[in-house]
Amino acid sequence: MKNRLKVLRAERDWSQQDLADRLGVSRQSVNAIEKGRYDPSLPLAFTIAETFDLAIEDIFQKDEA
């Protein structure tokens, strides 16, 4: 799954740690999600969407085959 976390963070001038603190997770988690190495659960995806005040599909997109 692709995501726009890095771009959205940059737009707000947030570091990975800033976002991690807002989400209540570790910085490693944010890094793993950003890199596409870990797909977040639905509850965490909703929390991320709420943090950026966007819809989930505006942040996460399915990989094209």
Binding site: Q16, S29, N31, K35, Y38
Partner: protein, 186 residues
């Protein structure tokens, strides 16, 4: 840790060292293992965040490891130096067993309590790698033992082998994360 465990096993099997010496030497890799776990967790969480579940896990593993070494030492010394009844022997055997059960409980509790789903998934992956070590080495060695190719090894080696496998798994996952980590960029 693996090497020292292997050397101890060979020395003990060959009769080069007695049970007490084996115990004293075994404390070294166990101590190293505890230090290794602490370092792995410290690097994993970093100074900015160490979840309460992680802290409880580390304290629990440290306490149970110390209880294990103490219980095993008391049991071996008593077994070697004191004439004991069968009932007391059962109690002696329980001294190292109870801390091991407590260690398994601490690990299970961490999985339940860790609210960071990525760290929880990493712990589960490392645990499965440890399980893979136990199943592979246990089956391999077990069949060699069945056909009298190698000496008997007590079943309690399952836990140290699992812990070493888990440590290897954590190390590999940490390396993978560090390799792909672009730091705390803004």
């Amino acid at each position: 840790m693996l090497a020292s465990g292997g050397i101890l096993l060979v020395l003990k099997s060959a009769g080069a060292i007695n049970a007490t010496t084996t115990y004293i030497l075994a404390c070294i890799p166990v101590g190293l293992m505890v230090a290794f776990f602490i370092e792995v967790r410290r690097r994993q969480d970093g100074p900015a965040r160490a979840s309460s579940a992680s802290v409880r896990y580390l304290k629990g593993i440290f306490a149970t490891s110390m209880a294990y070494m103490l219980g095993l030492g008391i049991a071996i010394w008593t077994w070697n130096n004191v004439e004991v009844t069968t009932g007391v022997t059962w109690l002696l055997a329980m001294l190292p067993i109870i801390p091991i059960l407590a260690m398994v409980f601490v690990m299970g509790r961490y999985i339940v309590e860790e609210d960071d789903e990525y760290l929880r998934q990493r712990f589960m992956q490392a645990s499965l790698i440890g399980l893979g070590f136990v199943l592979s080495i246990g089956s391999f060695y077990g069949f060699l033992e069945t056909f009298d190719l190698v000496p008997h090894v007590p079943g309690w080696w399952a836990v140290p082998i699992w812990a070493v496998g888990m440590g290897v798994g954590q190390g590999w996952l940490n390396w993978r994360d560090r390799t792909l980590d672009d730091g705390d960029e803004a």
